[in-house]
């Protein structure tokens, strides 16, 4: 029996396919344009394929949000499958117009209650919120309960991203406050976060090991010894995300998700952050 409360997100949630299917989460893909061809993010082009092609593209691939029509189609499908309430959780409005298009579309579909929520996050930060919502819905929570849960998590979820370079963020126009970090001739790894839904610099260090250690320190500072729900992500950098994973597991008490979720960044996010990224989303569980 399909739940009457359904969860929708977009392709930047970076959740593994098995989990999406298991929890019946609907995904509206953003679009990525590579050398003139438009692909549905994660559907027509996978992260692996994208990073393989990236060094050879003539110009930096660009991205675009789903059109309101794409959301409408998904809402109508879910409604026809029996949904009474649809909860949509999306990539930060400070990074993309996707959540705005979703809201517009929400006003156009009758016969089902639709609530659109800006996660103020991205990648696995968004993914963790979506997962929690979908689990609750599958376990019989009411629409209102799921919305309350989501709004609570939006306040608690944090992300840290270690990038190889700020070049991609700058070219894609999303560098936000991290512009202050530009320009160094030395090999410095920026550690970034999302604050109020916008890219914000946290620290900069030399070397990947130091970057991982600093990230662990930062998580320690913000988690206050509590148990954590954690998910990690990388952009064509499996070896470094595994190093992060090792450190996280040895330093923190994590819940079951921590063992399972190491995702690769979607092409849409990938073109904005560049290969080499290692990231983590987390929230404390009281």
């Amino acid at each position: 029996m399909v739940s009457k409360v359904r969860v929708v997100t977009d392709s930047t949630a970076d959740l593994p396919r098995e989990l999406l299917e298991q929890l019946k989460i609907a995904v509206v893909p953003l679009k990525i344009i590579v050398d003139g061809e438009t692909y549905r993010d994660g559907v027509d082009l996978t992260p692996k394929e994208f990073f393989q092609r990236l060094p050879f593209t003539k110009e930096l691939p660009s991205t675009s949000q789903p059109s309101p029509g794409d959301f409408v189609a998904t809402y109508e499908r879910l409604r026809d499958e029996g949904a009474e309430k649809i909860i949509c959780i999306h990539l930060s409005g400070g990074l993309s117009g996707a959540v705005g298009a979703a809201r517009l579309a929400g006003n156009l579909v009758d016969g089902v209650e639709i609530e659109v929520i800006d996660s103020y996050s991205a990648s696995v930060g968004l993914g963790l919120i979506v997962l929690s919502a979908a689990r609750a819905a599958q376990n019989g929570a009411t629409g209102d309960e799921v919305v309350a849960l989501v709004n609570n998590l939006v306040q608690k979820v944090q992300v840290y991203f270690v990038l190889d370079t700020l070049e991609y963020l700058q070219k894609g126009g999303r560098i936000g406050r991290a512009e202050a970090f530009l320009g160094s001739l030395l090999n410095i790894k920026p550690i970034l976060s999302l604050v109020d839904g916008i890219i914000t610099p946290v620290d900069k260090v030399r070397g990947q090991s130091k970057a991982i250690e600093r990230t662990i320190e930062l998580i320690k500072q913000s988690s206050g010894g509590k148990r954590l729900e954690v998910a990690m992500v990388h952009a064509n950098n499996f070896s470094d995300v595994m190093r992060l994973h090792e450190r996280v597991v040895s330093e923190f008490k994590c819940c079951e998700l921590c063992e399972l979720i190491i995702s690769e960044v979607s092409p849409v996010l990938g073109t904005h952050v560049g290969p080499g990224l290692v990231g983590i989303g987390f929230y404390p569980i009281d």
Partner: protein, 544 residues
Amino acid sequence: MEILNGAQLKEMILVASRNLTAQKDLVDSLNVFPVPDGDTGTNMALTLQAAAREVQKLDLVLLGEVVHKAATGALMGARGNSGVILSQLLRGFAKGIGNKDTINAKEMAQSFQAAVDMAYKGVMKPVEGTILTVAREAARAAQENCRRVTSVEELLRLTIKQAKVTLDQTPDMLPVLKQVGVVDAGGKGLVVILEGALSALTGEEIGLEPEITPLTIEAIQSIEIVDEIDLADIEFHYCTEFIIKGQTLPIEDIKRAVEPLGDSMMVVGTDDVAKVHIHSNHPGRVLEICMEYGTLHAIKISNMVEQHQELQVAQVQPKASADLAAKPYGLVAVAVGEGLCRIFKSLGVDQIVEGGQTANPSIEDLVNAINAVNSDQVFVLPNNKNIILAAEQAKGLVDKSVIVVPTRSVTQGIAALVAFDAQSDVQTNQERMLQAASKVVTGEVTYAVRDSKFEDQDVREGDILGLGDGKLKVVGKEISEVVGDLVTMIMPEHGEIITVFYGQDVSEEEARVVVDMLEAAFPDCEVELHQGGQPLYYYIFSIE
């Protein structure tokens, strides 16, 4: 005409779409808000194309049906924020028209207002200085004028006039537009759409001639005009080249005005951007004449006779005032060596004082540097133990608040700068910078200037010396060997990055050989090579 029907509106939408598509690159090139991703023109064009496709399919051209189909098509195909706003404008316009078969000027004005109301509703945080403002002011002008104007065509003309006026004002409403020196892309897109619609009504041709493909600002700027000059008989001495940015630039007029001033003249461009190139003996006059048409940018004047002389004038328009505002913190560092100075600048140092291991800067040099920084709170990095004292003295001689971070080498200085955070308070920065500086292990390789003794060894003048954190550790005959031995001796337990700066007496090839050696000897470490250009020290390196 006094009324507008469905067939006319259909034509207006189709022509508007073609017009916008033809000019989308120009609109793209203006895109800096909300993110400078350069796709506003493309997005609006694709959105309007989606509307046009729906309208094209219609056989029965009832006004209500045309506008509603256009609105739905736009909504379904809306691309990007600007596309979504455009689709909302269309939806509102459609709502205003409702089921009517024709509208008069007054009803058109009301429908414009309905469009604006719908667009504002659809945006969570409306920002002034964007397409919304242009649309709003245009609709207001339409409402005001429809009382005395009964011609639909005339009303649309007046609406467009106001839209253009407001568009020109957008840089005053949105700071980022002013900083970059452009009008709002979305607003420009809207003007292009309205102009297209008007031309469908009047049958007049608009702006762009079909043979000229729209040039992006980049394209125009990068047009290379190659001069083939026989230096022997140059009549006009100064090769003068610049960009004019303006509104509806009259290219032909500009050509006529500039032509008499020299030869090899070329003027290329579009309504808003043009590149001017001419050989003239009065470059100043050329500039002055062109200033009448717009703002001048990327001005290059070179004296073709004296090939080495080059006059490069920066932007004539005053830059955004943000450049001149005081910063909360200033950074002064002592360094010597071209490469090292470049690196310090790239790390955010405002003033470099030349000094270091050979010539220590005077207290006056330090005072001048501190005063030259546009900030009341200054951090000073002496990068040499002999300069720390001078820096402390300089502190007492200035009016500003100065903190001396007692760095003893450029490597410590660099580590301190990496730890510096403009967002943190003074105390936190002081602590972090000190801590970072203390964690760095520093190596220096130089040569002995006289005979001496080191432990049980005789040191001859010209021997290679390796110092670790300022203390002599290794003596040898061969530079590469000493580097290797020194690194081995001072390598800390968790050393991971060796950053090597090679001095002015070392070539890049020699440095690379040393780097290869280090990478082989220390496979767990990352080795980074930079040109330091410092005198005396063949190599300075840090291990972190």
